[in-house]
Symmetry: C2
């Protein structure tokens, strides 16, 4: 590294042109002759020069940064450690990078309640991607109402004044349940908290499938963690014995917790109890028996989230959108 950090003006002097020319060249402005542009870019590289982003952000009123907020429910352990949420963050990172945008990672705790202020007024970011609706959409709504460019990963069917991208959770819940029914299950437990937006839709899909088959619903409402699932199923077994032959779990982590409880009691999967999860995380394939699951297309969703955010940044409006969903049939539900 040189003794002194170069600035735009220095580079301009070196090249014998004006600062505006260098600025334009480095920003690929077609006003500048291609030849000049290339020459200046090369000079910049040679001298290890980089534009000062603070200065350009100040001047251009644009950051090219997107804040990503992991909006987990406080009081629950589902959080920064949830493999699925993290996978989504990873995919969003890729999608943003492809558009030349950077990712400022945040949890709702850091940003406080006033996202609009914290991220946007302060020019930390141009827009926000919220991962997870949480139980209480008040913060999101407030930000959207304040005019913040904002998109959400969640259940697209939720009425909202901001675009939500996510899976068709209703269909997912229905598919999983129909699959269990087709395998011969008669008493299918729904394992998860229907009060949560996305899970609520999955639950309604479950109910719809049961209804068609004249089967009876049975909910074990738990937090979205594997240990809650483990304890939930254990308690159910202790209280009522093996009163079910199928489980539709609201997530794979939950399904795996349930699986553990079953295996410990030598309840055979899928023979005694068939099991379907949701998310298709890496572990679904590795577990034994491997876990059937509803696969969400997080990659496609991430691209859409970024597209819709960009649309808003350009003053266009964007609508909620559903992405495809798919049943991955593995051992835990084969008959």
């Amino acid at each position: 590294m040189n003794n002194k950090q170069l600035k735009l003006a220095d580079l301009a002097k070196l090249a014998g042109v004006s600062t505006s020319t260098v600025s334009r060249a480095l920003n690929d402005n077609p006003l500048i002759k291609k030849e000049t542009r290339d020459k200046l870019k090369q000079l910049a590289k040679q001298h290890n020069f980089s534009l000062n982003t603070a200065a350009s952000r100040l001047r251009s009123q644009k950051t090219n940064v997107v804040a990503v907020i992991i909006n987990f429910d406080s009081g629950t352990e589902q959080s920064i450690n949830d493999p699925f949420l993290l996978k989504v963050v990873g995919e969003i990172n890729l999608a943003l990078n492809k558009q030349g945008l950077e990712l400022l990672l945040s949890n709702s705790f850091m940003a406080g309640d006033d996202w609009a202020n914290y991220f946007i007024n302060s020019r930390r970011a141009d827009g926000i991607i919220v991962v997870g609706q949480g139980k209480d959409p008040a913060n999101i709504e407030a930000a959207a109402n304040a005019g913040v460019p904002l998109v959400v990963w969640g259940d697209p069917k939720t009425p909202s004044n901001y675009p939500i991208v996510g899976s068709d959770n209703f269909v997912g819940g229905r598919l999983a349940t129909e699959h269990l029914l087709a395998g011969g299950a008669k008493n299918i437990v729904f394992l998860g908290d229907p009060g949560h937006a996305e899970i609520g839709e999955r639950y309604r899909g479950y109910l719809a499938a049961l209804n068609t088959a004249n089967a009876i619903a049975n909910v074990v409402s738990i937090d979205i963690t594997s240990s809650a699932a483990y304890h939930g199923i254990n308690q159910l077994l202790v209280a009522k014995g093996l009163c079910f032959d199928g489980i539709m779990a609201c997530s794979d982590m939950v399904a795996l917790g349930a699986m553990k409880a079953l295996k410990e009691r030598y309840i055979s999967i899928p023979n005694d109890v068939a099991l379907v999860g949701f998310d298709d995380i890496a572990m679904a394939d590795v577990s034994h028996p491997s876990l059937s699951s509803i696969k969400q297309n997080t990659q496609r969703a991430s691209v859409l989230l970024v597209e819709k955010l960009l649309a808003q940044l350009q003053g266009q409006s964007a609508k909620s959108q559903v992405v495809e969903i798919e049943l991955i049939n593995r051992q835990s539900s084969k008959r």
Copy 2:
């Protein structure tokens, strides 16, 4: 949102004080009387005012941003989807937030080769935390040599001109292997690639333990993924039959892949083959049998990483440091 975005000068006018007073008050400068400070802060809140970070960064030459780079090996699938790396990122996020720092997430792909330039010269961040040494430390070294404030999660024993924080991988490998030996295992396979810095240390710990016990080493070198482990163990079984009675896996994901291969062939865990993983990810507890593992203290490590980075930012130097490690004994290795 108001029709016009307030700036510091507007707020100063509203309050009837100078801009410097407001600036100092909002930055909690003790020069300003506490009473005035509180009054101005409240006024700011009332008017939904936030300092323009671009402007303050430009002026103060400081971003309060730390770039976190996930430095996975290209060509390998271990990456943004690895639960352990992501857990580390999550912990780092928390540790940074506690110091009022923000986290710019990046993968090595986005930043390109010239980190110093991309993050530091461009004033995107004040410093860098690299998660994972990767197989080739050249990039990191170059950045460190260029004077970039930099810390790395990795193997602290690696000779380096930058501080590395991580577990005592040697002891971890030794502990795991000794535990398997104590359980009666005679032929323990090391499952992982010793060419990777951290894993290499684990391997040497494994060798040390074997050596003391006069046992023979047997390495199955694979990528750090569960599917590679699954195939690796399958191949070994096909080629040589059940020629081992213990596996020391270089990560939990790898251990779980191996476990799946064993279960599919009805090889009993831990009776026929005992198994210890590394990392203690959430799945270790959920799997069946539950997976014994070496737990790394990622929380402590994250705090240290941030501390050492801050030290460098303040012109002090910082040394590599080892964090404690612990064997979590579960079913996969009980006798």
